[in-house]
C-alpha cells in the first residue's frame, strides 16, 4: 500500500502539464524571430510574462490553501439518530462523493506548486529574453530564482527526510518519549556512579548537566555539540575503568553500558531535531523571500506600464 509521493500525484498529472507548457514555450521561443530581438516586450514576451504571472498567483494560493485547511466547508444535513430516516438527497451524495474523489487535496496543490514552480524557471527566463541588468526587473527575476531554488531543496527534504526520521527513531514513538528515556538513563547513571570515585561521578554529572539537544540554529541543523559531554564521558569512562579494582568492574560495566546507551539516544534525539530543522529551515527563506519577490514583481509590472 505504498502511497504515491507528491511528485507522482495522479499519475504525474502536473508533471505532464508543466512539461507540455515548458516544451511549447521553448519551441515558440525558438521559432519566433521578433524584429527587435527577444525581449519581454515582444508579443511572445508579453504572453510568457502573463503566463508566468498567472502561475505565480497559483503558486501563492498554495500558501493560502495550506494555512486555511478548511476553506470549503459545505454543511451536509447532519443526521442524527433521532431522525435516521431523514435522507441525504442523492444529488448531494453524488456531489460529496465526487468531491472526495476529485476535489483537490493539499497534496494535489503541492504537486502542482512543485511542477509549476519549476516550469516557471523556463517560462520566466524566456520572458526575460536573456536580458539582465541592474534594475527592478532583474531583481524580481533573481528573487524568484532564489525562491524556486529554496523550494527545490524543500522538495528534496520532503522526499528524503521522512524515511530517515522513521529509521532514526527506531521504534520509539515520540520525541518526548525519547527525552524521557534519556532522562531516565541519566538518573540511573547518577545513582550508579555514587559508588565510584569523585572523578567518575564528575564525568557523569557533567554529562547530565551539560549535554544539549537542539539549541541554536547551527546546532539544530548539524546535530552536534562540540565536545559533547556525553560522548566525552563515554571516552573518559573507558580510560577511568582501567584503574578500577576487579570487584568494582561488574558495577562499572553497568554504568558504562548506561552511558553508552545514553550516547546513542542523545545522538538519535539530535538527529531527529536535525531532520525536523532541515524540513523546516528553508521555509524561513522560501516564504519571506516569496513576499519580497511578489513585491518586486508588482513593481516590475507597474514599471512596464511606464514604458508605454
Amino acid at each position: 500500500m505504498q502511497r504515491n509521493t507528491l511528485l507522482e500525484y495522479r499519475n504525474y498529472r502536473y508533471f505532464k502539464i508543466a512539461s507540455l507548457l515548458t516544451i511549447s514555450a521553448v519551441l515558440a521561443y525558438l521559432f519566433d524571430q521578433p524584429a527587435m530581438g527577444a525581449y519581454g516586450g515582444s508579443w511572445l514576451g508579453y504572453l510568457f510574462g502573463i503566463l508566468s504571472a498567472l502561475i505565480v498567483v497559483v503558486l501563492t494560493l498554495y500558501g493560502v490553501r495550506k494555512r486555511l485547511p478548511s476553506i470549503r466547508t459545505e454543511r451536509r444535513n447532519s443526521l442524527n439518530a433521532s431522525s435516521p430516516q431523514q435522507d441525504v438527497p442523492d444529488r448531494r451524495k453524488r456531489q460529496a462523493s465526487w468531491l472526495r474523489h476529485h476535489g483537490a487535496t493539499l497534496q494535489g496543490w503541492l504537486s502542482a506548486h512543485t511542477y509549476m514552480g519549476i516550469a516557471l524557471i523556463v517560462l520566466a527566463t524566456l520572458h526575460t529574453g536573456f536580458q539582465f541588468g541592474w534594475n527592478v526587473h532583474t531583481l524580481a527575476y533573481a528573487l524568484m530564482m532564489v525562491v524556486i531554488i529554496s523550494g527545490c531543496y524543500g522538495i528534496y527534504a520532503y522526499l528524503r527526510m521522512p524515511r530517515l526520521m522513521t529509521a532514526n527513531m527506531g521504534g520509539i514513538n515520540t520525541f518526548n518519549a525519547l527525552l524521557l528515556e534519556i532522562d531516565d538513563l541519566d538518573k540511573q547513571a547518577s545513582v550508579k556512579s555514587l559508588q565510584f570515585s569523585d572523578d567518575i561521578c564528575a564525568v557523569v554529572r557533567k554529562a547530565r548537566q551539560e549535554t544539549l539537544i537542539g539549541g541554536n540554529f547551527f546546532r539544530q541543523l548539524t546535530a552536534c555539540q562540540r565536545n559533547c559531554p556525553t560522548a566525552k564521558a563515554v571516552q573518559q569512562l573507558r580510560l577511568l575503568g582501567k584503574s578500577l579494582k576487579y570487584d568494582q568492574l561488574k558495577s562499572f560495566d553497568d554504568l558504562f553500558l548506561i552511558m553508552a546507551h545514553k550516547e546513542t539516544l542523545v545522538r538519535r534525539a539530535r538527529l531527529d531535531v536535525m531532520y525536523r530543522a532541515r524540513l523546516e529551515f528553508w521555509l524561513y527563506l522560501h516564504a519571506p523571500l516569496s513576499i519580497a519577490f511578489l513585491t518586486a514583481l508588482i513593481a516590475h509590472i507597474v514599471a512596464i506600464f511606464f514604458y508605454w
Binding site: 500500500m1 505504498q2 502511497r3 504515491n4 509521493t5 507528491l6 500525484y9 500558501g63 493560502v64 495550506k66 494555512r67 486555511l68 485547511p69 478548511s70 470549503r72 466547508t73 459545505e74 454543511r75 451536509r76 447532519s78 443526521l79 442524527n80 439518530a81 435516521p84 430516516q85 435522507d87 441525504v88 448531494r92 456531489q95 460529496a96 468531491l99 472526495r100 476535489g103 487535496t105 493539499l106 497534496q107 496543490w109 503541492l110 527534504a157 520532503y158 527526510m161 521522512p162 524515511r163 526520521m165 522513521t166 527513531m169 521504534g171 514513538n173 515520540t174 520525541f175 525536523r276 524540513l279
Partner: protein, 805 residues
C-alpha cells in the same frame, strides 16, 4: 411505643423524597425513614461539583420536588428547601430491620427497636443502601471509607483501594495522580471492570503509578500510630502475608439489590440473577399487597423517573388512577396508527402483532415504546437503503414490505416480509452497513427501535434473543451463501447449527484440525493464516456477510489454514455432515462453493511469497484495526511531520485537534496515530447516559449536543480517542489574515474555556458536515495521511505489488 401512619416511605432518595413530599402536600399522614444522617445520601456522595442531568429530556416532571439539570450542590440546596417547605415528616438515622403484615396492617421495625404501623409501605431504598462492606476486623474504622468524594482531597498519602470493579479502579486511577496507591483485587485478573478502565489501569500499573495485589484479600486492619501512618492493613496476597502501612483504605465492593432484606419482607424475584429487580405490577405494587417498590429498585435508575414514581405511587395508594407520566407520550405515539384506541389497547395490539416483543413486561414495553418511533410509511416509501449506515431495528405491526437484496453477481432479488416479522437485525448485530434496501409495498405500521434500546432488550429478555437468533440464522445463511435457497433447504442446512462467539484473537480452528463445518460470519471479521516453515503468513481477511471453512469440507481433508477472530466475532456454524449432504443435492450451492474454492486456491499462491504485508496487517489487527470501519493511517515514508493534519483538524473543530498525530505505534513505515477508528460496535456508545453518541447514515460516529460530561465514553474507548475538554463556545475559525500571520496557532489557546465551564466529550466526527471529507487527510501536503477501512486495506495490500517494506 408504636406510631401509626397511613404511608411509611423507606429511603429518602429522589423517589422517597418525592413520595413523601407529595403525601405531605396532600396532608396524608406519612413518615419518611432514612438510615443515613442526611436525605439524598447517594447524591451527597457524588464527587464535588458533579453535573447532575435531568434525563430523559422528553419526560415531563411531576413531583413536588424541584428538579432540573445542575450541579450536585444546587440540586441538594433545592431539595433541602423543598423538604422544609412541604414539611416532610423525615426521620434520619432510622434503619429498617423488618416489615411484616399486609395492606392496611404493616408493621415496620427499626434497628433502634421502635416499630411503626402503617397501612401502606413504599420501598424506595435503591441500591446504594446495600453497599458491600469489608466484613473484617477494622472494617469500620473511620479512615476506612466505602466511597470517595473528592480524590483531590488526598495528597502524598499511601492509600489502599480494595475492589477490582469499575468503582475501585476509577478511584484508584483518580487517587494515583497525587498519591501512592495499592489496589487490592480478590480475583486474579481485573476482568470485572470496563475495558476502558482496564486499559487505563494496565497503563498505570505499567508506569508504576498503581501497585496491584491480585488474588489477595485483607485479613484485618489495625489503627497504627507509628511512622506517620494511620492504618496497618494485613493482607493475604498470592505471595504470602503482607503488612501495608497506609493512611486510608477505600473499599469499593459494589452494591446490589438488598435481596435478602427484600425476601425477608416477602418480596419475590423473577430469577436468581444477583442484579435482577423484583417483579412489579404496573402500579409499582410488589407481590406483597400494599408494599410498593419505586426508584432504582423498581428498575428505573434515572432521577427524574424516580421523582415521578414517588408522585405516582402516592396517587395509586389513594386509589386515583393517575396516568403514568409517559402516558401522553405513549398516547401520541400510538395515535400515529390508531387515534381512537387507548394506550392499553395499543400495547396489546403491539404484543399481538409483534411476537418478538410479546415476552416483555408491561414496564419494559412502555419503556421500549417511549424510546422508539412509530413509522407509517405509504406504498413505495423507502425505509432504509442498501449500504446506509443505520442500525435501528424494525418490527412490522401492519402491512407488507419488500426486501431488495443485491446478489453476489450484482442482480437484484426481491422478498416480501409481512406483519409479525422484523427486520434490521443484521445491521444491529454486525454493526455494519445495511445489506438490503427495504421498501413499503402497502400502507405499513412499523416500530423503529434505536440500537441501544434493542441491545439492552436482547441482553435482558431471553425470549427476544431466542426469536432474534432463530430468524437471524436463516437470514445469515441467505446473506452469506446465496439468496436463492428454498426454505426447505434452508431449514435442512440449519439442523444442528449453532451461533458461536469469539473474542478478538481467539482461534476458530487450527491448521490440521478436522473440519467441523461451514462458518458464516454475522459479526466481526476473521483472519485466515497459514503456518509455513514455522512462520505464520496472513492469507486473507474475511468480513461479516461472508463464509469460510469450505475448503476442508469440499476436499475432505483437515484444515489447511488457521482462522482467528480479528475483532469480537459471531459466526453461525453449519454442521459438516449437513452441509456435505446438502451440497450433494444442491448443484447451485455446490458450484458456488467450488468456484470460491478455486479462487481461494489461486489467492493462496498469489500471496504466499510476500510475507511482509502479512506482518504489517497482523500488526494492525493486533492494534485493534479489525473492529474499525475507518482508521487514520500515516505513511511515515511521506510524512514530513508538519502536523498540518492536526492544525486542520483543530481549525474545523472549535480549535481543538481531535487526534494526536505523534502518539501511537509505528510498524515499518505505517504509523497508527491515536485517533478515532469509528468502530463497528463503538465502545463509546456502550454506556452514554444521555445517549448522544450516534452513527450517521454515512458511518461517522459522533457526539451530538447534550453531553453530560460523565466521561464514560472516554473511559470506555480503548484507543484513547476521546478527550474531555471545556470548549470555548466563542471560538471562531481563524480568518484569512489570522491564518497567514500565524494567528491560527494562537487561536488554539483561545479554544479552551476557563476552569469553571463544564467539560464535554469531544471526538473525531470524520468532518461529517464537510462534503470534501476529513480535513486531516485533505490537508496533508504530501498525501501521507489516509483514512481507510480494514477490508479496503487488506485488498490494497493483496493487490499492490509495491507493498511497503
Amino acid at each position: 411505643m408504636t406510631e401509626k401512619f397511613k404511608i411509611a416511605i423507606i429511603g429518602a432518595g429522589p423517589a422517597g423524597l418525592s413520595a413523601a413530599a407529595h403525601a405531605a402536600e396532600l396532608g396524608i399522614s406519612h413518615i419518611l425513614l432514612e438510615a443515613a444522617q442526611q436525605p439524598a445520601n447517594t447524591i451527597h456522595k457524588y464527587q464535588k461539583g458533579k453535573l447532575v442531568m435531568a434525563e430523559p429530556a422528553v419526560l415531563p416532571l411531576r413531583s413536588p420536588m424541584a428538579f432540573a439539570a445542575g450541579t450536585r450542590e444546587n440540586i441538594l440546596t433545592l431539595w433541602h428547601e423543598d423538604i422544609q417547605r412541604h414539611k416532610v415528616n423525615l426521620r434520619l438515622g432510622a434503619q429498617v430491620d423488618g416489615i411484616k403484615g399486609e395492606r392496611g396492617h404493616f408493621q415496620v421495625t427499626l434497628s433502634s427497636g421502635q416499630s411503626i404501623n402503617a397501612e401502606f409501605v413504599v420501598l424506595a431504598i435503591g441500591l446504594q443502601g446495600n453497599i458491600h462492606k469489608l466484613g473484617i476486623p477494622g472494617g469500620d474504622l473511620p479512615t476506612v471509607q466505602y466511597h470517595l468524594d473528592d480524590p483531590e482531597e488526598f495528597k502524598d498519602e499511601t492509600i489502599v483501594v480494595v475492589g477490582g470493579g469499575d468503582a475501585g479502579v476509577e478511584n484508584a486511577l483518580a487517587l494515583a495522580q497525587q498519591n501512592r496507591v495499592i489496589l487490592i483485587n480478590r480475583e486474579e485478573e481485573f476482568s470485572r471492570c470496563k475495558e476502558g478502565n482496564f486499559n487505563l489501569l494496565q497503563a498505570a500499573i505499567k508506569a508504576g503509578r498503581i501497585e496491584p495485589r491480585v488474588s489477595s484479600r485483607i485479613d484485618y486492619i489495625d489503627s497504627e500510630t507509628g511512622n506517620g501512618f494511620l492504618l496497618r492493613v494485613v493482607a493475604k496476597t498470592s505471595e504470602g502475608v503482607e503488612i501495608i502501612p497506609c493512611h486510608h483504605v477505600i473499599a469499593r465492593l459494589g452494591a446490589s439489590p438488598p435481596r435478602k432484606l427484600l425476601e425477608s419482607f416477602g418480596v419475590k424475584f423473577p430469577n436468581s440473577d444477583i442484579t435482577s429487580v423484583p417483579e412489579l405490577s404496573e402500579q409499582y405494587e410488589s407481590n406483597v399487597p400494599g408494599l410498593y417498590i419505586i426508584g432504582t429498585l423498581g428498575g428505573c435508575p434515572l432521577i427524574k423517573q424516580a421523582l415521578n414514581h414517588g408522585y405516582e405511587v402516592v396517587e395509586y395508594i389513594l386509589g386515583n388512577p393517575v396516568e403514568p407520566a409517559d402516558e401522553p407520550l405513549l398516547k401520541q405515539k400510538i395515535s400515529c396508527f390508531d387515534a381512537s384506541c387507548s394506550v392499553r389497547e395499543g400495547l396489546t395490539f403491539i404484543r399481538h402483532n409483534a411476537p418478538i416483543l410479546a415476552g416483555l413486561t408491561a414496564l419494559q414495553l412502555r419503556e421500549l415504546l417511549l424510546e422508539s418511533n412509530i413509522l407509517t410509511p405509504k406504498p413505495d416509501d423507502l425505509i432504509f437503503k442498501y449500504d446506509d449506515y443505520t442500525s435501528s431495528f424494525f418490527s412490522i405491526l401492519e402491512g407488507e414490505l419488500a426486501v431488495v437484496v443485491k446478489a453476489k453477481d450484482g442482480s437484484e432479488i426481491y422478498f416480501q416480509i409481512k406483519a409479525g416479522n422484523f427486520f434490521g437485525e443484521m445491521g444491529l448485530i454486525s454493526g455494519r452497513r445495511r445489506s438490503a434496501t427495504i421498501k413499503a409495498i402497502t400502507d405499513c405500521v412499523l416500530i423503529e427501535t434505536p440500537r441501544r434500546s434493542m441491545l439492552k432488550l436482547i441482553n435482558s429478555v431471553e425470549s427476544v434473543r431466542q426469536k432474534l437468533d432463530e430468524v437471524s440464522m436463516k437470514r445469515v445463511v441467505r446473506n452469506c451463501l446465496t439468496n436463492t435457497l428454498p426454505e426447505s433447504e434452508l431449514n435442512y442446512l440449519l439442523q444442528g447449527a449453532t451461533i458461536r462467539r469469539y473474542k478478538a484473537g481467539d482461534v476458530l480452528f487450527h491448521q490440521g484440525d478436522k473440519a467441523d463445518g461451514l462458518y458464516l460470519i454475522r459479526r466481526g471479521s476473521v483472519i485466515i493464516s497459514q503456518i509455513t516453515a514455522g512462520k505464520e503468513d496472513v492469507l486473507s481477511y474475511v468480513i461479516t456477510g461472508n463464509y469460510f471453512g469450505e475448503m476442508a469440507l469440499i476436499s475432505d481433508k483437515p484444515r489447511s489454514k488457521t482462522a482467528r477472530a480479528a475483532s469480537a466475532t459471531e459466526v453461525v456454524l453449519l454442521k459438516a455432515p449437513v452441509v456435505i449432504a446438502s451440497l450433494e443435492r444442491n448443484t447451485d450451492l455446490r458450484d458456488l462453493l467450488a468456484a470460491r474454492y478455486r479462487e481461494n486456491a489461486h489467492d493462496t499462491k498469489m500471496i504466499e511469497p510476500q510475507d511482509k504485508p502479512g506482518n504489517l496487517f497482523t500488526f494492525l489487527i493486533r492494534q485493534g484495526v479489525g473492529e474499525a470501519t475507518d482508521v487514520l493511517l500515516i505513511d511515515y515514508s511521506l510524512c514530513i511531520r508538519c502536523n498540518n493534519c492536526e492544525t486542520a483538524c483543530a481549525n474545523t473543530h472549535q480549535g481543538i485537534p481531535l487526534f494526536n498525530r505523534e502518539a501511537g505505534p509505528t510498524h515499518s513505515h505505517i504509523h497508527l496515530p491515536t485517533s478515532c477508528r469509528h468502530c463497528e460496535h463503538p465502545y463509546c456508545m456502550l454506556d452514554c447516559p444521555p445517549n448522544v453518541i450516534h452513527r450517521s447514515v454515512n458511518g461517522e460516529v459522533f457526539i451530538a449536543d447534550g453531553c453530560i460530561s460523565c466521561g464514560n465514553c472516554k473511559n470506555n474507548c480503548p484507543y484513547d480517542a476521546i478527550q474531555m475538554v471545556a470548549v470555548n463556545p466563542k471560538f471562531k475559525k481563524p480568518g484569512l489574515w489570522q491564518a497567514l500571520t500565524g494567528g491560527a496557532y494562537q487561536s488554539e489557546k483561545n479554544s479552551i474555556a476557563g476552569d469553571d465551564s463544564p467539560k464535554k466529550a469531544i471526538k473525531c466526527d470524520l468532518c461529517k458536515d464537510n462534503a470534501m471529507g476529513p480535513a486531516c487527510v485533505r490537508s496533508c501536503p504530501t498525501g501521507a495521511a489516509i483514512r481507510i477501512s480494514p477490508e479496503a486495506l487488506s485488498l490494497t495490500m493483496r493487490d499492490s505489488s509495491a507493498v511497503l517494506e
